[in-house]
Amino acid sequence: MADAAHHNDALIHARGLTKRFANLTAVDAIDFDVGRGEAFGFLGPNGAGKTSTMRMIGCVSSPSGGTLRVLGMDPVRDGPRIRARLGVVPQSDTLDTELHVDENLFTYARYFGLPRDVARQRAQQLLDFVQLKDRARDNVEFLSGGMKRRLTIARALVNEPELLLLDEPTTGLDPQARHLVWDRLYRLKQQGVTIVLTTHYMDEAEQLCDRLVVMDKAKIVAFGSPRSLIDQYSSREVLELRFPIDATPALDKLNGLAERIEALPDRVLLYTNDGEAAAVAVHSRGLRPESILVRRSTLEDVFLRLTGRSLIE
Protein backbone atom coordinates (compact mmCIF):
# COMPACT_ATOMS: atom_id res chain seq x y z
CA MET A 1 0.00 0.00 0.00
CA ALA A 2 3.05 2.20 -0.20
CA ASP A 3 1.48 3.69 -3.28
CA ALA A 4 -1.48 2.12 -4.98
CA ALA A 5 -1.31 4.58 -7.90
CA HIS A 6 1.72 2.77 -9.27
CA HIS A 7 0.12 -0.63 -9.09
CA ASN A 8 -0.58 -1.30 -12.78
CA ASP A 9 2.65 0.07 -14.12
CA ALA A 10 4.81 -1.18 -11.25
CA LEU A 11 8.26 -2.58 -12.00
CA ILE A 12 8.19 -4.20 -8.60
CA HIS A 13 4.98 -5.23 -6.93
CA ALA A 14 5.01 -6.78 -3.46
CA ARG A 15 2.11 -7.78 -1.22
CA GLY A 16 2.54 -9.54 2.08
CA LEU A 17 6.11 -10.32 1.04
CA THR A 18 7.73 -12.51 3.69
CA LYS A 19 11.11 -14.13 4.17
CA ARG A 20 11.64 -16.63 6.94
CA PHE A 21 14.89 -18.34 7.83
CA ALA A 22 15.13 -21.27 10.24
CA ASN A 23 14.42 -19.33 13.42
CA LEU A 24 14.03 -15.78 12.21
CA THR A 25 11.54 -13.76 10.18
CA ALA A 26 13.73 -11.39 8.19
CA VAL A 27 10.91 -9.79 6.22
CA ASP A 28 7.44 -9.79 7.70
CA ALA A 29 4.57 -9.31 5.24
CA ILE A 30 5.58 -6.03 3.62
CA ASP A 31 3.69 -4.25 0.82
CA PHE A 32 5.22 -1.84 -1.69
CA ASP A 33 5.25 -0.88 -5.35
CA VAL A 34 8.05 0.69 -7.33
CA GLY A 35 7.08 2.59 -10.47
CA ARG A 36 9.12 3.09 -13.64
CA GLY A 37 11.71 5.86 -13.43
CA GLU A 38 11.45 6.14 -9.69
CA ALA A 39 14.24 6.24 -7.13
CA PHE A 40 12.94 4.14 -4.28
CA GLY A 41 14.66 3.60 -0.95
CA PHE A 42 14.61 1.10 1.88
CA LEU A 43 15.79 2.89 4.97
CA GLY A 44 16.51 1.18 8.24
CA PRO A 45 19.15 -0.02 10.66
CA ASN A 46 21.23 -3.14 10.13
CA GLY A 47 19.12 -6.25 10.45
CA ALA A 48 15.87 -4.53 9.52
CA GLY A 49 15.32 -6.85 6.53
CA LYS A 50 16.53 -4.57 3.72
CA THR A 51 19.07 -6.93 2.23
CA SER A 52 16.72 -9.92 2.40
CA THR A 53 14.16 -7.87 0.49
CA MET A 54 16.76 -6.88 -2.11
CA ARG A 55 17.84 -10.49 -2.56
CA MET A 56 14.26 -11.53 -3.22
CA ILE A 57 13.86 -8.76 -5.80
CA GLY A 58 17.19 -9.83 -7.34
CA CYS A 59 15.83 -13.41 -7.71
CA VAL A 60 18.57 -15.02 -5.61
CA SER A 61 16.34 -15.81 -2.67
CA SER A 62 12.81 -17.12 -2.89
CA PRO A 63 10.03 -15.56 -0.83
CA SER A 64 8.59 -17.65 2.00
CA GLY A 65 5.19 -16.05 1.53
CA GLY A 66 3.19 -13.32 -0.18
CA THR A 67 3.29 -12.02 -3.74
CA LEU A 68 6.29 -10.62 -5.57
CA ARG A 69 6.38 -9.56 -9.21
CA VAL A 70 9.47 -8.03 -10.77
CA LEU A 71 9.20 -6.53 -14.27
CA GLY A 72 5.82 -8.26 -14.42
CA MET A 73 7.37 -11.70 -13.91
CA ASP A 74 7.65 -14.24 -11.13
CA PRO A 75 11.16 -14.19 -9.60
CA VAL A 76 11.05 -17.88 -8.68
CA ARG A 77 10.08 -19.10 -12.14
CA ASP A 78 11.61 -16.45 -14.39
CA GLY A 79 14.81 -15.69 -12.44
CA PRO A 80 17.27 -15.70 -15.36
CA ARG A 81 14.92 -13.66 -17.59
CA ILE A 82 14.40 -11.05 -14.89
CA ARG A 83 18.08 -10.89 -13.98
CA ALA A 84 18.93 -10.27 -17.64
CA ARG A 85 17.23 -6.88 -17.21
CA LEU A 86 18.47 -6.03 -13.70
CA GLY A 87 21.64 -4.37 -12.49
CA VAL A 88 22.75 -5.41 -9.01
CA VAL A 89 25.21 -3.62 -6.74
CA PRO A 90 25.64 -5.96 -3.76
CA GLN A 91 26.47 -4.80 -0.27
CA SER A 92 30.07 -5.99 -0.48
CA ASP A 93 31.92 -5.78 -3.77
CA THR A 94 32.16 -9.04 -5.71
CA LEU A 95 34.78 -7.82 -8.17
CA ASP A 96 37.26 -10.23 -9.70
CA THR A 97 40.47 -9.29 -7.94
CA GLU A 98 42.44 -11.50 -10.31
CA LEU A 99 41.38 -9.44 -13.32
CA HIS A 100 42.10 -5.94 -14.58
CA VAL A 101 39.53 -3.18 -14.23
CA ASP A 102 38.39 -3.36 -17.86
CA GLU A 103 38.44 -7.18 -17.84
CA ASN A 104 36.01 -7.09 -14.94
CA LEU A 105 33.52 -5.20 -17.08
CA PHE A 106 34.17 -7.29 -20.17
CA THR A 107 33.76 -10.63 -18.38
CA TYR A 108 30.61 -9.43 -16.67
CA ALA A 109 29.13 -8.30 -19.97
CA ARG A 110 29.82 -11.79 -21.30
CA TYR A 111 27.81 -13.30 -18.42
CA PHE A 112 24.84 -11.52 -19.98
CA GLY A 113 25.66 -13.09 -23.32
CA LEU A 114 26.70 -9.82 -25.01
CA PRO A 115 28.85 -10.28 -28.13
CA ARG A 116 32.54 -9.58 -27.62
CA ASP A 117 32.69 -6.31 -29.56
CA VAL A 118 29.62 -4.94 -27.79
CA ALA A 119 31.08 -6.03 -24.45
CA ARG A 120 34.37 -4.24 -25.21
CA GLN A 121 32.60 -1.10 -26.35
CA ARG A 122 30.32 -1.04 -23.33
CA ALA A 123 33.27 -1.53 -20.98
CA GLN A 124 34.94 1.57 -22.44
CA GLN A 125 31.79 3.70 -22.17
CA LEU A 126 31.20 2.68 -18.59
CA LEU A 127 34.80 3.29 -17.54
CA ASP A 128 34.28 6.79 -18.86
CA PHE A 129 30.98 7.14 -17.03
CA VAL A 130 32.42 6.17 -13.63
CA GLN A 131 35.66 8.08 -14.28
CA LEU A 132 38.01 5.11 -14.19
CA LYS A 133 39.30 5.31 -17.74
CA ASP A 134 42.90 5.93 -16.71
CA ARG A 135 42.79 2.90 -14.38
CA ALA A 136 41.50 0.51 -17.06
CA ARG A 137 44.60 -1.71 -17.07
CA ASP A 138 45.16 -1.69 -13.32
CA ASN A 139 44.58 -4.63 -11.06
CA VAL A 140 41.39 -4.26 -9.07
CA GLU A 141 43.17 -4.81 -5.77
CA PHE A 142 45.03 -1.53 -6.19
CA LEU A 143 41.85 0.56 -6.41
CA SER A 144 40.60 2.62 -3.48
CA GLY A 145 37.30 1.71 -1.83
CA GLY A 146 35.47 4.45 -3.70
CA MET A 147 36.90 3.35 -7.05
CA LYS A 148 35.94 -0.27 -6.39
CA ARG A 149 32.42 0.86 -5.61
CA ARG A 150 32.24 2.85 -8.85
CA LEU A 151 33.55 -0.15 -10.77
CA THR A 152 30.89 -2.32 -9.15
CA ILE A 153 28.26 0.18 -10.23
CA ALA A 154 29.69 0.24 -13.76
CA ARG A 155 29.58 -3.54 -13.81
CA ALA A 156 25.92 -3.51 -12.80
CA LEU A 157 25.23 -1.30 -15.84
CA VAL A 158 26.81 -3.47 -18.56
CA ASN A 159 23.46 -4.93 -19.62
CA GLU A 160 21.79 -1.48 -19.69
CA PRO A 161 19.35 -2.52 -16.96
CA GLU A 162 15.88 -1.10 -16.60
CA LEU A 163 16.07 -1.58 -12.87
CA LEU A 164 19.16 -0.94 -10.77
CA LEU A 165 19.32 -2.48 -7.28
CA LEU A 166 21.88 -1.00 -4.89
CA ASP A 167 22.44 -2.47 -1.45
CA GLU A 168 24.09 0.21 0.68
CA PRO A 169 25.92 1.84 -2.23
CA THR A 170 28.12 4.16 -0.17
CA THR A 171 28.63 2.40 3.16
CA GLY A 172 32.25 2.74 4.21
CA LEU A 173 33.16 5.44 1.68
CA ASP A 174 34.64 8.80 2.58
CA PRO A 175 32.48 11.90 1.96
CA GLN A 176 34.15 12.80 -1.33
CA ALA A 177 33.75 9.30 -2.73
CA ARG A 178 30.13 9.23 -1.58
CA HIS A 179 29.32 12.44 -3.42
CA LEU A 180 30.85 11.09 -6.61
CA VAL A 181 28.69 7.96 -6.36
CA TRP A 182 25.59 10.04 -5.65
CA ASP A 183 26.32 12.22 -8.66
CA ARG A 184 26.54 9.16 -10.97
CA LEU A 185 23.35 7.68 -9.54
CA TYR A 186 21.59 10.98 -10.02
CA ARG A 187 22.64 11.01 -13.69
CA LEU A 188 21.30 7.48 -14.15
CA LYS A 189 18.03 8.55 -12.65
CA GLN A 190 17.90 11.47 -15.10
CA GLN A 191 18.40 8.95 -17.89
CA GLY A 192 15.26 7.15 -16.74
CA VAL A 193 16.81 4.19 -14.93
CA THR A 194 14.64 2.97 -12.08
CA ILE A 195 16.70 2.82 -8.90
CA VAL A 196 16.01 0.84 -5.76
CA LEU A 197 18.47 1.26 -2.93
CA THR A 198 18.90 0.40 0.69
CA THR A 199 20.72 2.64 3.08
CA HIS A 200 21.09 3.49 6.70
CA TYR A 201 22.25 6.96 5.83
CA MET A 202 19.57 9.59 6.11
CA ASP A 203 21.32 12.07 3.87
CA GLU A 204 21.66 9.43 1.16
CA ALA A 205 17.95 8.74 1.25
CA GLU A 206 17.17 12.45 1.19
CA GLN A 207 19.54 13.08 -1.71
CA LEU A 208 18.47 10.25 -3.94
CA CYS A 209 15.02 8.90 -3.14
CA ASP A 210 11.71 10.09 -4.53
CA ARG A 211 9.94 7.77 -2.17
CA LEU A 212 11.08 5.51 0.58
CA VAL A 213 9.90 3.06 3.16
CA VAL A 214 11.33 2.97 6.65
CA MET A 215 11.93 -0.59 7.83
CA ASP A 216 12.44 -1.73 11.37
CA LYS A 217 12.42 -5.27 12.71
CA ALA A 218 11.29 -6.85 9.42
CA LYS A 219 8.33 -4.53 8.96
CA ILE A 220 7.61 -1.29 7.13
CA VAL A 221 6.93 1.34 9.77
CA ALA A 222 6.41 4.36 7.48
CA PHE A 223 6.43 5.31 3.82
CA GLY A 224 6.34 8.41 1.66
CA SER A 225 8.64 11.02 0.16
CA PRO A 226 11.47 12.24 2.41
CA ARG A 227 9.71 15.60 2.71
CA SER A 228 6.33 14.14 3.56
CA LEU A 229 7.83 11.81 6.14
CA ILE A 230 9.50 14.74 7.84
CA ASP A 231 6.29 16.77 7.71
CA GLN A 232 4.31 13.89 9.10
CA TYR A 233 6.63 12.65 11.83
CA SER A 234 8.81 15.59 12.78
CA SER A 235 8.70 19.34 13.25
CA ARG A 236 10.14 21.86 10.81
CA GLU A 237 13.18 22.61 12.94
CA VAL A 238 15.15 20.97 15.69
CA LEU A 239 16.99 22.69 18.49
CA GLU A 240 19.92 20.62 19.72
CA LEU A 241 21.24 21.39 23.20
CA ARG A 242 24.43 19.93 24.55
CA PHE A 243 25.02 20.33 28.27
CA PRO A 244 28.26 19.86 30.19
CA ILE A 245 28.71 16.27 31.38
CA ASP A 246 26.62 15.56 34.51
CA ALA A 247 24.94 18.92 34.20
CA THR A 248 21.93 17.98 32.09
CA PRO A 249 18.97 19.76 33.70
CA ALA A 250 15.82 17.91 34.62
CA LEU A 251 13.70 17.63 31.51
CA ASP A 252 10.74 19.31 33.16
CA LYS A 253 12.69 22.56 33.08
CA LEU A 254 12.25 22.44 29.33
CA ASN A 255 8.51 21.72 29.50
CA GLY A 256 6.41 23.66 27.04
CA LEU A 257 9.34 24.87 24.96
CA ALA A 258 8.74 22.41 22.09
CA GLU A 259 6.16 20.08 20.62
CA ARG A 260 8.28 17.14 21.61
CA ILE A 261 11.49 16.65 23.56
CA GLU A 262 13.90 13.79 23.06
CA ALA A 263 16.74 13.17 25.51
CA LEU A 264 19.66 11.31 23.94
CA PRO A 265 22.72 10.17 25.87
CA ASP A 266 24.80 13.12 24.65
CA ARG A 267 22.25 15.83 23.89
CA VAL A 268 18.65 16.98 24.17
CA LEU A 269 16.55 17.51 21.04
CA LEU A 270 13.67 19.99 21.01
CA TYR A 271 11.26 19.56 18.11
CA THR A 272 9.71 22.88 17.21
CA ASN A 273 8.72 25.01 14.24
CA ASP A 274 10.90 27.89 15.39
CA GLY A 275 14.27 26.81 16.72
CA GLU A 276 15.57 30.33 17.33
CA ALA A 277 12.61 31.26 19.49
CA ALA A 278 13.00 28.05 21.47
CA ALA A 279 16.68 28.80 22.00
CA VAL A 280 15.85 32.23 23.38
CA ALA A 281 13.27 30.67 25.68
CA VAL A 282 15.83 28.14 26.94
CA HIS A 283 18.12 31.04 27.87
CA SER A 284 15.37 32.99 29.54
CA ARG A 285 14.75 30.02 31.84
CA GLY A 286 18.31 30.40 33.04
CA LEU A 287 19.62 27.25 31.37
CA ARG A 288 23.18 27.46 30.01
CA PRO A 289 23.88 24.66 27.53
CA GLU A 290 27.44 24.22 26.34
CA SER A 291 26.37 24.40 22.72
CA ILE A 292 23.22 25.21 20.82
CA LEU A 293 22.38 24.19 17.29
CA VAL A 294 19.28 24.99 15.26
CA ARG A 295 18.80 22.78 12.23
CA ARG A 296 16.11 21.50 9.90
CA SER A 297 14.48 18.20 10.65
CA THR A 298 15.96 15.20 8.86
CA LEU A 299 14.93 11.62 8.29
CA GLU A 300 17.08 10.71 11.28
CA ASP A 301 14.54 12.55 13.43
CA VAL A 302 11.75 10.64 11.73
CA PHE A 303 13.45 7.37 12.50
CA LEU A 304 14.07 8.37 16.08
CA ARG A 305 10.44 9.26 16.46
CA LEU A 306 9.22 6.01 14.90
CA THR A 307 11.50 3.61 16.71
CA GLY A 308 12.91 5.48 19.67
CA ARG A 309 16.43 4.68 18.49
CA SER A 310 18.97 6.23 16.19
CA LEU A 311 19.75 4.49 12.94
CA ILE A 312 23.41 3.73 13.44
CA GLU A 313 24.04 2.48 16.90
Binding site: S61, T94, Y111, R155
Partner: protein, 255 residues
Protein backbone atom coordinates in the same frame (compact mmCIF):
# COMPACT_ATOMS: atom_id res chain seq x y z
CA UNK B 1 24.45 -24.66 -21.09
CA UNK B 2 25.26 -21.24 -22.47
CA UNK B 3 25.68 -20.03 -18.90
CA UNK B 4 28.16 -22.82 -18.15
CA UNK B 5 30.27 -21.69 -21.10
CA UNK B 6 30.33 -18.16 -19.67
CA UNK B 7 31.66 -19.55 -16.39
CA UNK B 8 34.35 -21.46 -18.28
CA UNK B 9 35.18 -18.30 -20.22
CA UNK B 10 35.66 -16.45 -16.94
CA UNK B 11 38.13 -19.07 -15.72
CA UNK B 12 39.91 -18.97 -19.05
CA UNK B 13 40.33 -15.20 -18.74
CA UNK B 14 41.88 -15.60 -15.31
CA UNK B 15 43.98 -18.55 -16.50
CA UNK B 16 45.50 -16.47 -19.28
CA UNK B 17 47.13 -14.55 -16.46
CA UNK B 18 48.53 -17.55 -14.62
CA UNK B 19 49.01 -20.33 -17.17
CA UNK B 20 52.78 -20.02 -17.44
CA UNK B 21 53.46 -20.87 -13.84
CA UNK B 22 50.87 -23.59 -13.79
CA UNK B 23 52.19 -25.28 -16.95
CA UNK B 24 55.72 -25.13 -15.54
CA UNK B 25 54.56 -26.85 -12.36
CA UNK B 26 52.66 -29.55 -14.22
CA UNK B 27 55.92 -30.64 -15.90
CA UNK B 28 58.24 -30.12 -12.96
CA UNK B 29 56.34 -32.26 -10.48
CA UNK B 30 56.17 -35.49 -12.59
CA UNK B 31 59.82 -35.05 -13.65
CA UNK B 32 60.93 -34.84 -10.01
CA UNK B 33 58.80 -37.76 -8.89
CA UNK B 34 59.72 -40.05 -11.76
CA UNK B 35 63.40 -39.18 -11.43
CA UNK B 36 63.58 -39.63 -7.66
CA UNK B 37 61.23 -42.56 -7.12
CA UNK B 38 61.21 -44.17 -10.54
CA UNK B 39 64.87 -43.94 -11.46
CA UNK B 40 66.46 -43.54 -8.04
CA UNK B 41 64.43 -46.03 -6.02
CA UNK B 42 63.81 -48.10 -9.16
CA UNK B 43 67.52 -48.69 -9.68
CA UNK B 44 67.74 -50.17 -6.17
CA UNK B 45 64.84 -52.49 -6.91
CA UNK B 46 66.31 -53.59 -10.22
CA UNK B 47 69.45 -54.67 -8.39
CA UNK B 48 67.47 -56.59 -5.76
CA UNK B 49 66.36 -60.22 -5.79
CA UNK B 50 63.03 -59.63 -7.59
CA UNK B 51 64.12 -56.88 -10.01
CA UNK B 52 60.58 -55.98 -11.09
CA UNK B 53 57.26 -55.03 -9.52
CA UNK B 54 54.27 -56.99 -10.78
CA UNK B 55 56.45 -58.11 -13.66
CA UNK B 56 57.52 -54.70 -14.95
CA UNK B 57 60.33 -52.26 -14.18
CA UNK B 58 59.52 -50.10 -11.14
CA UNK B 59 59.44 -46.88 -13.18
CA UNK B 60 56.91 -48.42 -15.58
CA UNK B 61 54.81 -49.63 -12.66
CA UNK B 62 54.98 -46.33 -10.81
CA UNK B 63 54.34 -43.78 -13.58
CA UNK B 64 50.65 -44.47 -14.39
CA UNK B 65 49.86 -44.68 -10.67
CA UNK B 66 51.41 -41.27 -10.11
CA UNK B 67 49.48 -39.96 -13.10
CA UNK B 68 46.16 -40.89 -11.48
CA UNK B 69 47.26 -39.76 -8.02
CA UNK B 70 48.38 -36.34 -9.21
CA UNK B 71 44.95 -35.84 -10.80
CA UNK B 72 43.46 -36.62 -7.39
CA UNK B 73 45.72 -34.05 -5.74
CA UNK B 74 44.91 -31.34 -8.31
CA UNK B 75 41.22 -32.05 -7.84
CA UNK B 76 41.58 -31.67 -4.07
CA UNK B 77 43.52 -28.42 -4.40
CA UNK B 78 41.10 -26.92 -6.92
CA UNK B 79 37.89 -27.79 -5.07
CA UNK B 80 38.72 -26.66 -1.55
CA UNK B 81 40.23 -23.17 -1.03
CA UNK B 82 39.52 -21.75 -4.52
CA UNK B 83 35.86 -22.80 -4.37
CA UNK B 84 35.54 -21.36 -0.86
CA UNK B 85 37.02 -18.13 -2.22
CA UNK B 86 34.46 -17.95 -5.00
CA UNK B 87 31.60 -18.69 -2.60
CA UNK B 88 32.59 -16.59 0.35
CA UNK B 89 35.89 -14.72 0.29
CA UNK B 90 35.76 -13.14 -3.16
CA UNK B 91 32.06 -13.76 -3.75
CA UNK B 92 32.63 -14.48 -7.42
CA UNK B 93 29.53 -16.68 -7.58
CA UNK B 94 27.34 -13.98 -6.06
CA UNK B 95 28.40 -11.71 -8.91
CA UNK B 96 27.67 -14.41 -11.48
CA UNK B 97 24.26 -15.21 -10.01
CA UNK B 98 23.16 -11.58 -10.35
CA UNK B 99 23.20 -12.21 -14.12
CA UNK B 100 21.18 -14.78 -16.10
CA UNK B 101 23.70 -17.43 -14.97
CA UNK B 102 22.09 -19.98 -12.60
CA UNK B 103 23.57 -22.29 -9.94
CA UNK B 104 23.46 -25.25 -12.32
CA UNK B 105 25.48 -23.24 -14.86
CA UNK B 106 28.06 -22.44 -12.19
CA UNK B 107 28.37 -26.11 -11.32
CA UNK B 108 28.53 -27.32 -14.92
CA UNK B 109 31.08 -24.59 -15.69
CA UNK B 110 33.25 -25.54 -12.72
CA UNK B 111 33.31 -29.24 -13.58
CA UNK B 112 33.85 -28.50 -17.27
CA UNK B 113 36.76 -26.22 -16.42
CA UNK B 114 38.16 -28.71 -13.95
CA UNK B 115 38.03 -31.52 -16.52
CA UNK B 116 39.93 -29.25 -18.92
CA UNK B 117 42.56 -28.42 -16.31
CA UNK B 118 42.92 -32.08 -15.31
CA UNK B 119 43.33 -33.03 -18.95
CA UNK B 120 46.07 -30.41 -19.37
CA UNK B 121 47.90 -31.58 -16.26
CA UNK B 122 47.54 -35.26 -17.12
CA UNK B 123 48.57 -34.54 -20.71
CA UNK B 124 51.76 -32.88 -19.45
CA UNK B 125 52.37 -35.85 -17.16
CA UNK B 126 51.87 -38.19 -20.09
CA UNK B 127 54.50 -36.31 -22.12
CA UNK B 128 56.95 -36.71 -19.26
CA UNK B 129 56.15 -40.45 -19.20
CA UNK B 130 56.91 -40.57 -22.91
CA UNK B 131 60.28 -38.94 -22.34
CA UNK B 132 61.06 -41.37 -19.51
CA UNK B 133 60.26 -44.19 -21.89
CA UNK B 134 57.41 -45.78 -19.93
CA UNK B 135 54.87 -45.69 -22.79
CA UNK B 136 54.85 -48.53 -25.28
CA UNK B 137 51.40 -48.52 -26.87
CA UNK B 138 49.13 -45.96 -28.53
CA UNK B 139 46.21 -47.02 -26.36
CA UNK B 140 48.16 -45.85 -23.34
CA UNK B 141 47.02 -42.35 -24.18
CA UNK B 142 43.66 -43.37 -22.70
CA UNK B 143 45.35 -43.33 -19.32
CA UNK B 144 44.88 -39.55 -19.52
CA UNK B 145 41.12 -40.11 -19.59
CA UNK B 146 41.40 -42.46 -16.62
CA UNK B 147 43.31 -39.77 -14.73
CA UNK B 148 40.73 -37.08 -15.54
CA UNK B 149 37.96 -39.38 -14.32
CA UNK B 150 39.91 -40.08 -11.15
CA UNK B 151 40.19 -36.33 -10.60
CA UNK B 152 36.47 -35.79 -11.12
CA UNK B 153 35.61 -38.68 -8.80
CA UNK B 154 37.39 -36.72 -6.06
CA UNK B 155 36.48 -33.21 -7.22
CA UNK B 156 32.71 -33.65 -7.16
CA UNK B 157 32.32 -34.96 -3.58
CA UNK B 158 34.95 -32.54 -2.24
CA UNK B 159 33.25 -29.58 -3.94
CA UNK B 160 29.95 -30.68 -2.42
CA UNK B 161 31.63 -30.74 0.99
CA UNK B 162 33.29 -27.35 0.48
CA UNK B 163 29.97 -25.73 -0.44
CA UNK B 164 28.48 -26.96 2.82
CA UNK B 165 31.25 -25.42 4.97
CA UNK B 166 31.40 -21.96 6.52
CA UNK B 167 35.12 -22.12 7.33
CA UNK B 168 38.19 -23.69 5.75
CA UNK B 169 39.17 -25.65 8.86
CA UNK B 170 38.33 -29.07 7.46
CA UNK B 171 40.31 -28.66 4.24
CA UNK B 172 43.71 -29.35 5.78
CA UNK B 173 42.21 -32.38 7.53
CA UNK B 174 40.97 -33.77 4.23
CA UNK B 175 44.49 -33.39 2.91
CA UNK B 176 46.06 -35.00 5.93
CA UNK B 177 43.64 -37.85 6.55
CA UNK B 178 42.28 -38.63 3.08
CA UNK B 179 44.47 -37.39 0.26
CA UNK B 180 47.95 -38.04 1.68
CA UNK B 181 47.20 -41.56 3.06
CA UNK B 182 45.60 -42.50 -0.24
CA UNK B 183 48.57 -41.15 -2.13
CA UNK B 184 50.97 -43.18 -0.01
CA UNK B 185 48.93 -46.36 0.46
CA UNK B 186 46.47 -46.39 -2.45
CA UNK B 187 48.45 -48.58 -4.81
CA UNK B 188 50.62 -45.89 -6.40
CA UNK B 189 54.03 -46.84 -4.99
CA UNK B 190 53.52 -50.57 -4.44
CA UNK B 191 50.88 -53.12 -5.41
CA UNK B 192 47.81 -53.10 -3.17
CA UNK B 193 48.13 -56.83 -2.48
CA UNK B 194 51.14 -55.97 -0.30
CA UNK B 195 48.77 -54.38 2.20
CA UNK B 196 46.99 -56.24 5.04
CA UNK B 197 43.55 -57.53 3.97
CA UNK B 198 41.65 -54.87 5.89
CA UNK B 199 43.56 -51.98 4.35
CA UNK B 200 43.19 -53.52 0.91
CA UNK B 201 39.43 -53.59 1.43
CA UNK B 202 39.41 -49.95 2.47
CA UNK B 203 41.59 -48.93 -0.48
CA UNK B 204 39.20 -50.56 -2.94
CA UNK B 205 36.34 -48.53 -1.52
CA UNK B 206 38.02 -45.32 -2.62
CA UNK B 207 38.18 -43.97 -6.17
CA UNK B 208 41.99 -43.77 -6.15
CA UNK B 209 42.65 -47.51 -6.18
CA UNK B 210 40.28 -47.89 -9.14
CA UNK B 211 41.75 -44.88 -10.95
CA UNK B 212 45.27 -46.21 -10.46
CA UNK B 213 44.28 -49.71 -11.61
CA UNK B 214 42.58 -48.30 -14.70
CA UNK B 215 45.45 -45.97 -15.62
CA UNK B 216 48.02 -48.69 -15.00
CA UNK B 217 46.07 -51.27 -17.01
CA UNK B 218 45.73 -48.87 -19.94
CA UNK B 219 49.34 -47.82 -19.75
CA UNK B 220 50.65 -51.41 -19.64
CA UNK B 221 48.05 -52.69 -22.07
CA UNK B 222 46.94 -55.46 -19.71
CA UNK B 223 43.31 -54.60 -19.04
CA UNK B 224 40.81 -57.29 -18.15
CA UNK B 225 37.05 -57.10 -17.66
CA UNK B 226 37.68 -55.59 -14.20
CA UNK B 227 38.32 -52.34 -16.06
CA UNK B 228 34.56 -51.86 -16.27
CA UNK B 229 34.28 -52.14 -12.50
CA UNK B 230 37.00 -49.49 -12.08
CA UNK B 231 35.27 -47.22 -14.58
CA UNK B 232 31.88 -47.74 -12.91
CA UNK B 233 33.25 -46.87 -9.46
CA UNK B 234 34.84 -43.65 -10.75
CA UNK B 235 31.66 -42.61 -12.56
CA UNK B 236 29.57 -43.45 -9.50
CA UNK B 237 31.70 -41.26 -7.23
CA UNK B 238 31.56 -38.41 -9.73
CA UNK B 239 27.80 -38.73 -10.21
CA UNK B 240 26.98 -38.88 -6.49
CA UNK B 241 29.32 -35.94 -5.91
CA UNK B 242 27.68 -33.85 -8.61
CA UNK B 243 24.20 -34.49 -7.23
CA UNK B 244 25.40 -33.62 -3.71
CA UNK B 245 27.18 -30.51 -4.96
CA UNK B 246 24.03 -29.37 -6.73
CA UNK B 247 22.21 -29.54 -3.39
CA UNK B 248 24.85 -27.94 -1.18
CA UNK B 249 25.80 -25.17 -3.61
CA UNK B 250 22.16 -24.31 -4.28
CA UNK B 251 21.47 -24.19 -0.55
CA UNK B 252 24.53 -22.05 0.01
CA UNK B 253 24.10 -19.49 -2.76
CA UNK B 254 20.35 -19.21 -3.20
CA UNK B 255 18.54 -19.19 0.10
Amino acid sequence: MNGALRVVEHHLTVYRRTWKGSVFMSFISPILFLAAMGLGLGSLISRGPVRTVDGVAYLVFLAPGLLAASAMQSAYVETTYPIMARIQWERTYEGMLATPIAVLDVLAGEFGWLAFRLALGSGAFFLVMLVFGTIHSVLAVLAIVAAVLTGLAFAAPILAWTASRRTDQSFALIGRFVITPLFLLGGVFFPLHQLPQLLQGIAWLTPLAHGVALARGLSLGVLGPSAFVHLAVLLLYAAIGIVAARITLQRRLVQ
